[in-house]
């Protein structure tokens, strides 16, 4: 029989994580031993009738209490600080992240790559590449849980959440659901395949072997939807009196009729498509139809991908990972691997950063 003691350690964060985990374990063992020895020692030494010296017994001792208060507090704060640093670093988006879209629904995981490839209960990613999952649920709350990467985040209906990780070892790892979501919760499982760069590129080009080759990228699907739903009838190339233009709107600050400002991130775009009446841009009326019942989460993601492809605002400190690099780029990115896209974005981001500092 085999007693595994650790899950595979397959991401950058997993290494940092385990260092902290085992340090806390060491402290736990030490403290358990101290208390255990104290209890055992006292119980044996002062067993009723023993000849131990019981004179000068104290029933309180402020100095001792303060010591017992300060030592655990200081150790605890040290652990807290370490963990806060780790956490902040893993939640901070990296510059050159590759973005995948995840939709959780009872009871499967649906993953979509930028170039349009879809997978169910499987996720292919290249080794060494920082990944960002943009996730939403179509029904109840789920959690994307990747134990080998020590990564987990809830997948919530009605808002986008994200998960960031950088796989470091090729292999196949578990992909689980971490929140009870109903009858087949325990079957909402799959695998992450971490491939070498080359294998991944081949996999992506071939449309993922076992899957039908994606004929259209997410942006193209979004562009088609844009036409089909007639978005462009009102949202034209420039602001007009019916509606504001959406070109380059992503990640810019928008002013609402009530004077408040909102960052046009994915959540804002999603809400504005599904329930436009909630927030109306200053200068416009509530005339847009609500698409809440006529678009699936997947279609909304495609529309957002399309809107993003028209450019995005560079709001300092917000979403550096979404620099305006896709302006004017041809929409047929399916011929380009996602890696290339990511690299394009990274270099564009870097040159833009330069511009900003100049």
């Amino acid at each position: 029989m085999n007693f595994p003691l650790m899950p595979p350690q397959a991401s950058e964060h997993a290494v940092a994580y385990d260092a902290l985990f085992w340090t806390i374990t060491a402290l736990t063992v030490i403290f358990t031993l101290i208390v255990g020895v104290m209890i055992y020692g006292f119980a044996v030494k002062y067993k009723r009738g023993s000849s131990a010296d019981r004179r000068n017994a104290q029933s309180h001792n402020e100095k001792l209490e303060v010591l017992l208060l300060v030592v655990p507090t200081v150790l605890g704060l040290a652990i807290f600080a370490w963990s806060a640093v780790n956490f902040t670093s893993v939640r901070t988006p990296k510059k050159d992240e590759m973005e995948l879209f995840v939709i959780g629904k009872r009871w499967m995981w649906h993953v979509q790559h930028m170039n349009g490839i879809r997978e169910n209960n499987e996720m292919h990613v290249p080794v060494g590449q920082p990944i960002r999952l943009t996730m939403i649920s179509q029904d109840v709350i789920h959690a994307m849980y990747l134990p080998a990467f020590r990564a987990q985040y809830h997948v919530v209906p009605g808002r986008y959440t994200s998960l960031h990780f950088t796989p470091t070892k090729p292999g196949t790892y578990k992909l689980l659901c971490g929140i009870h979501c109903g009858t087949q919760h325990s079957e909402m499982v799959g695998f992450v395949h971490v491939l070498s760069q080359q294998d991944f590129d081949e996999w992506l080009e071939s449309g993922g072997n076992r899957y039908t080759k994606a004929d259209r990228s997410m942006e193209q699907v979004g562009a088609d939807l844009w036409k089909e739903k007639g978005c462009g009838n009102c949202h034209q190339g420039t602001d007009n009196n019916r509606a504001p233009s959406l070109n380059g709107i992503f990640n810019t600050q928008r002013t609402m009729t009530d004077g408040s400002t909102v960052l046009a991130n994915e959540d804002y775009l999603r809400e504005s498509i599904l329930r436009p009446w909630d927030r109306i841009s200053a200068g416009y009326e509530n005339t847009m139809q609500a698409y809440a019942n006529s678009l699936s989460e997947e279609q909304v993601l495609s529309l957002i991908a399309y809107i993003k492809s028209t450019g995005s605002g560079a709001t300092p400190g917000q979403g550096e990972y979404e620099q305006p690099v896709r302006d004017g780029r041809a929409l047929d990115s399916s011929s380009k691997s996602t890696i290339d896209i990511a690299n394009d974005r990274a270099s564009a981001g870097a040159s833009q950063a330069k511009e900003l500092t100049n």
Partner: protein, 569 residues
């Protein structure tokens, strides 16, 4: 505790003509039990009903453990499995742990310990039991209708829109149980403020009373929040009014905030009374005052206050901002400090004491060991980074069983064995008592320790199947085997305690040689109004003398040695 007694009976020359009646023999009709306003009888009612719910919850647990020995499951469908763990969690949390120590030991002892004849509002106390039973009945009906499947946490929108099990009825049940606990809390607070006997100053109160008082505060501040939250879920379910479901325009994460705003403090509703019991046991069986009495007393209050500020540590990965998470993490570390203080102080209580290894003491020592592990593993979960991987896994399951079973239930059993002679006037078999304490301790560790490893390996909680990870099976089998041992340990007291009612030795007032009004001034079992004469307290609490206690044994031993020596000559 020394007390001067104003003996009115002697002064007035009144003597009882008949053998003295106690609260059990005062009246024998069923009606006299169902309409009683005697806090002691209500405690007995609570004892019977919480034991019933514990039994019910344990059956569900047995099914869960049996099912998990196989990665594919063998007995249940996933639907039934989900209903099992939901029933287990809801019953154990809302109908057992929250109610058991305040309802049984608190109700019975709190008035006696402060020298009062009853709680401040005896009728409210009876109402609390009825409301509790009404809630329990609702939930049992929901079970008979097939059971609910959304877990004890009732996360929305699963519970509000997606589950098609009788959730509303279950919510109403929990809502009622909540009110029972509000009534109890109210009663305890009023009693401690207003009904203390002359001379019973705050710092002469046993720590048991401090603990129940702090619990009462959490109960009345926290429970209304969960009650209204569950009501909102019911409203969304019944009338489709959007509160928590995004498709109706609600916010699903709002539910979690409201739920944990109560449910984190609620873990202390479950734990503080247990800690309160442990203080009494450690003092009595070490024959020492509790070390650092004031620190222990104020740590209860500190826990009660801080416990309202850490709910976000259950939501580190549910779309909180990074800063929010870090602040909650920091405060969670701070709330661990008062618990650590208590542990050290309990251990130090034995220092230069005279330690008696009786059944209650063995339970108390078991509590210390398990609570240390439970508390320290809380640090992995309070540290925001380590929690990300462990949240929602068996690590969390192991952690809270260490604190709630290893903590609360060990303390309850210790307390029950300690005050059993007081409640029923009979002694049980020490042999069986000690054996059960040891079996529970061993079985508990076999059941729950492997679950820490499972959680770290990545086993999510509430998973019916794990066919994709056969390497986990070995730990599940260990855990299920351990739970059989644990189950036997829990069943034993049911037998020997019941047997003691029939053939147990009569206990006498103070079989343990303990200090405290309940031992020194009340009969076993106490009379209906607790004391024959009004009590006036004049001395400090926990007035033990360990040296004298041990010297008695040594003197006895010397005598025996002397006799032996004579014989040998």
């Amino acid at each position: 505790m020394s007390a001067t007694v104003v003996d009115k009976t002697q002064e007035e020359g009144l003597h009882e003509p008949h053998p003295k009646k106690n609260y059990l023999t005062a009246d024998h009709t069923i009606k006299s039990w169902l309409l009683t306003v005697d806090h002691k009888r209500i405690a007995v009612l609570y004892l019977i009903s919480t034991t019933f719910f514990f039994f019910l919850g344990s059956i569900a647990a047995a099914f869960i453990r049996a099912e998990l020995t196989n990665p594919m499951g063998t007995l249940l469908t996933s639907e039934t499995y989900n209903k099992m763990f939901s029933a287990h969690g809801i019953i154990m949390v809302f109908f057992f742990l929250v109610a058991v120590i305040p309802g049984v030991l608190g109700n019975f002892l709190l008035p006696i310990m402060v020298g009062a004849r009853d709680l401040a509002f005896p009728r409210l106390n009876l109402l609390s039991w009825y409301v509790f039973m009404a809630g329990g009945t609702c939930f049992v009906i929901a079970l008979m209708m097939g059971g609910v499947d959304a877990g004890w946490t009732f996360y929305t929108p699963l519970s509000s829109l997606y589950s098609n099990t009788p959730i509303t009825l279950a919510l109403v049940g929990v809502f009622f149980a909540g009110f029972a606990s509000i009534f109890t809390g109210l009663n305890f607070i009023a009693t401690v403020h207003k009904m203390r006997a002359p001379g019973m100053t705050w710092f002469r109160m046993p720590l048991f009373v401090w603990g129940q008082y702090a619990t009462g505060v959490i109960m009345i501040l926290g429970t209304p929040v969960i009650a209204i939250t569950l009501l909102m879920v019911a409203i969304e379910r019944m009338f489709k009014i959007g509160i928590f479901s995004p498709e109706l325009g609600g916010d699903p994460v709002l539910f979690q905030h409201l739920f944990w705003f109560y449910s984190h403090p609620a873990v202390y509703i479950m734990l503080l009374p247990g800690m309160a019991v442990i203080s009494e046991l450690m003092a009595c069986f070490s024959r020492r005052p509790v070390f650092g009495y004031k620190f222990v007393a104020f740590s209860s209050i500190g826990i009660a206050a801080l416990s309202f500020l850490v709910w976000g540590h259950h939501m580190f990965v549910s779309s909180q901002s990074v800063l929010q998470g870090i602040v909650f993490s920091l405060i969670s570390f701070l709330v661990a400090v008062p618990s650590a203080i208590k542990v050290f102080n309990w251990a130090l209580t034995m220092w230069k004491g005279s330690v008696h290894f009786t059944t209650p003491m063995i339970y108390a020592l078991g509590f210390l060991g398990l609570f240390v592990v439970g508390g320290l593993t809380g640090l992995y979960l309070a540290a925001i980074d380590t929690d990300v991987h462990l949240t929602g896994t068996y690590f969390v399951v192991a952690h809270f069983h260490y604190v709630m079973v290893g903590g609360t239930i060990m303390a309850f059993l210790g307390g029950l064995h300690f005050w059993w002679p007081k409640m029923f006037g009979r002694m049980y078999s020490e042999f069986w008592g000690k054996l059960s304490a040891i079996i529970v301790f061993v079985g508990f560790n076999f059941t729950f320790f492997p679950q820490f490893i499972l959680g770290y390996l990545g086993m999510p909680r509430r998973y019916h199947y794990y066919y994709f990870a056969p390497e986990w099976q070995v730990y599940h089998v260990l855990s299920s085997a351990g739970s059989t041992v644990l189950g036997i340990g829990f069943l034993m007291p049911a037998f020997y305690l019941t047997a003691s009612l029939i053939n147990g030795k009569r206990a006498g007032r103070n079989p343990w040689g303990a200090k405290g009004l309940e031992w020194e001034h009340a009969d076993s079992p106490p009379v209906t109004l607790n004391f024959d004469k009004p009590v006036v307290v004049t001395g400090p609490v926990y007035d033990y003398d360990a040296e004298k206690d041990s010297e008695m044994i040594r003197a006895g031993q010397r005598l025996v040695d002397m006799v032996k020596g004579e014989e040998e000559k």
